[in-house]
Amino acid sequence: MGNWVEIVWIGMCAVSLALGAIHLFVWFKQRTGYFHLLFFALAVSATAFGAFELALMHEWAPERYADILRWAHVPLALWVLSMIGFVHFYFGAGRSWLAWAASGFRLAGLALNFVTGVNVNFLAVSSLEPVAFWGGAVVAGPVGVVNPWAIVPQIGNLILLMFVIDAAITLWRRGGSDARRRAVVVGGSLVACVAAVAGFAALITIGLVHAPTIVMPGVFVIVLAMGYELGWDMIAAAQLATQLRASEQRFRAVVEAVPSAILVIDDRGLISLANQQAETVFGYPRAELIRQPVELLIPERFHGRLSAWRTEWATGPHAQSIAPGRDRVGRRKNGVEFPAEVMLSPLQTEKGPFILASVVDVTERRRLEQATARQRDELAHLSRVALLGELSGSLAHELNQPLTAILSNAQAAQRFLAQSPPRTDKLAEILTDIVKANHRAGSVIVRLRSMLRKEESKRLVLNLNHVVEESLRLLRSDLLARHVTVQSDLAERLPSIEGDRNQLQQVLLNLLMNGCDAMEGQATDRCLTVRTQQTGQATVEVTVSDRGLGIPVADLDRVFDPFVTTKAQGLGLGLTICRSIVEAHGGRLWATNPAQGGATLHCELPATPG
């Protein structure tokens, strides 16, 4: 006959087969992609059905026609089932019970197709009449007795229609441009084609329309729609893969570029990624790092702690609580240990949890820090020596008092003994007093020597009140000579602090002497107030308030700058050094002008925990 119907039908079959083959191939390559297999079934059954339908259109013998129609139902049922499965599983749309019902009716129809009538559509096909298509194509149209069981597949079609409408609505509601497009393409084609095909088939079957069965175009459109969707997803996946590759390349580039050593460690503690800097820092070529336990890079004595920590990390999902470590120790290939700063962040991947460790070799930084600390200590020492020089009169007095007591006691004893008869009744108490005075002088010397000695800063647990009291004792005679009285208001229960006694005392002495200097010009009201108190959960404060003129507001912070001084003598380094001492102790030193006048210097220090 050689008309266009033949060409079109063969074309539809060929395209369906090609699409099916493509996805079969994809499924072979990617065994987890069952959708491809499902689509293959869809496409192949469509192809087969198209072939049957083409045969029907060219069959003019009623019996043969009935037979072919009966067998055409097999690929059709397969197509319907594949389509339901595809919609349900791939798009995740359509209610299950509708899917089951539609499948059930379709299978029941298929069964009835073989047990009732000549097929499920006709009890008997009486004749075939030529039907003219557009363009002069003439095909066979059946005439016969309708099989009453045809109602079953038709109900099935109705349910199928409901199923695809429901699925389309679901897709539409899911929102997002992607899902909307899918709703229109898939849902629209499904609803339109299923409605058309089912309706048309019903009309033909019940004989209202005299026409050949033309189901294939609808079937084909649906195959195309599904193929389009699947193809679209494959393209998206490919794009995603490209992006992923690009992003991974970027990640690698970034990882290589960061100045710290980066290691990615899996949940078994094996290194799965190391960057250039990691090679440099640890001295291993990358090949010797990958798939090696991270313990390789850590001194043995920390291994226990590491494994305990890893267990804890692995059992609890408190990945966020991985604290950065400032004082970690790393080990290079040559066995040399180095101080490291380590930052850990959890990575959740499909392959399980990983830890991203960023390691910075802080050897140089530590060295600089130590050098700075040493310089600060040296400067503090120099300034302390100068301070003690200023205080020499006061200190001499502190030594002089016990020496006076010793001398006079001893000479009194000599005189008592020189009497006749010698008086010995006072000797015991005199000797006791001499010993006491000697200890007193000794303690001044010890204190003095310790403040003069140049040694590294030594942190001890201290009571701030003691530091204050000791400083006041050292200054006692100076305060008297300068007619300065001191009111001390020391908090009874003060948390202890950790610090260098000499340095903190130096700060206190400086603050007290500055206070005295501030009141030098005034004839009366020379009074310093020293107060200690707990200011926060973990801070204690000592304040020294004078009753001088206060500090000009503009200078409140400037007084801590080096070489800023109001005094004729002095370098103006006292407060600068004090602030660096206090800050090295983790505290703060600042000045205020309280409302009642004068100036107040605040020194806040962290309390020792517990």
Binding site: Q401, L403, Q411
Partner: protein
């Protein structure tokens, strides 16, 4: 008149020094009264008793110089020996100007301190004696008659009996009689004593009343 036993007062805020200096002075057989502050001393010391004060310069509250000033205002005769840890020249000059008998630095040697104490006590004793004498003379002067007083003035001015007699318009004999009474009342043995006493009482040089 019998002399009271002198007391050496000590004021120092340092208890160790206070006890030691106290013992040293006691070893000399002197009576000691020790005070830990100027205020306590002002509240507690016997203002009529003889003695001296060994005083620390730098003390909280009233300091040494302030106490000296305060005693000066009271008209106290108590000689003061300053004892200081850090004596600067300005302070010592100031202390000496206000009549301190000595200014010693700590630690102080026993001989220096005790010598100063003895000197101070002697000075105090002399002060007290002069005081008593002045009182005695004043009493005697008060017992003189107007004529006897005129005669005394004449003697103090170095005039002879004859000149005084002429001046007063009386006989030399009468003057001799007054003179005898004067000698007795003033407790003088020879005329020279009388002149000395008259001088001490301020008769002649300044108008007396």
């Amino acid at each position: 008149m019998e002399e009271r036993v002198p007391t050496v007062y000590l004021v120092d805020d340092d208890p160790d020094v206070l006890a030691a200096i106290g013992r040293l002075i006691e070893s000399e057989g002197l009576q000691v009264a020790a005070f830990a502050s100027a205020q306590r001393f002002l509240d507690g010391f016997d203002r009529r008793a003889p003695g001296c004060l060994v005083l620390d310069l730098a003390m909280p509250g009233i300091n040494g110089l302030e106490l000296q000033r305060s005693l000066e205002q009271e008209g106290s005769l108590l000689p003061i020996i300053f004892l200081t840890g850090r004596g600067d020249i300005a302070t010592s000059v100031q202390a000496m100007k206000h009549g301190a008998v000595d200014f010693l630095t700590k630690p102080v040697d026993d001989t220096a301190l005790l010598a100063a104490v003895h000197d101070a006590l002697a000075a105090n004793r002399a002060h007290h004696r002069a005081d008593r004498e002045r009182a005695h003379i004043a009493q005697a002067l008060a017992s003189l008659t107007a004529r006897e007083r005129q005669v005394l003035e004449g003697i103090a001015a170095g005039r002879l009996n004859k000149q005084i007699a002429a001046e007063l318009g009386t006989s030399e004999k009468t003057i001799k009689f007054h003179r005898g009474n004067l000698m007795r009342k003033m407790g003088a043995r020879v005329a020279a004593d009388l002149v000395k006493l008259a001088e001490r009482a301020g008769v002649g040089s300044t108008p007396a009343n």
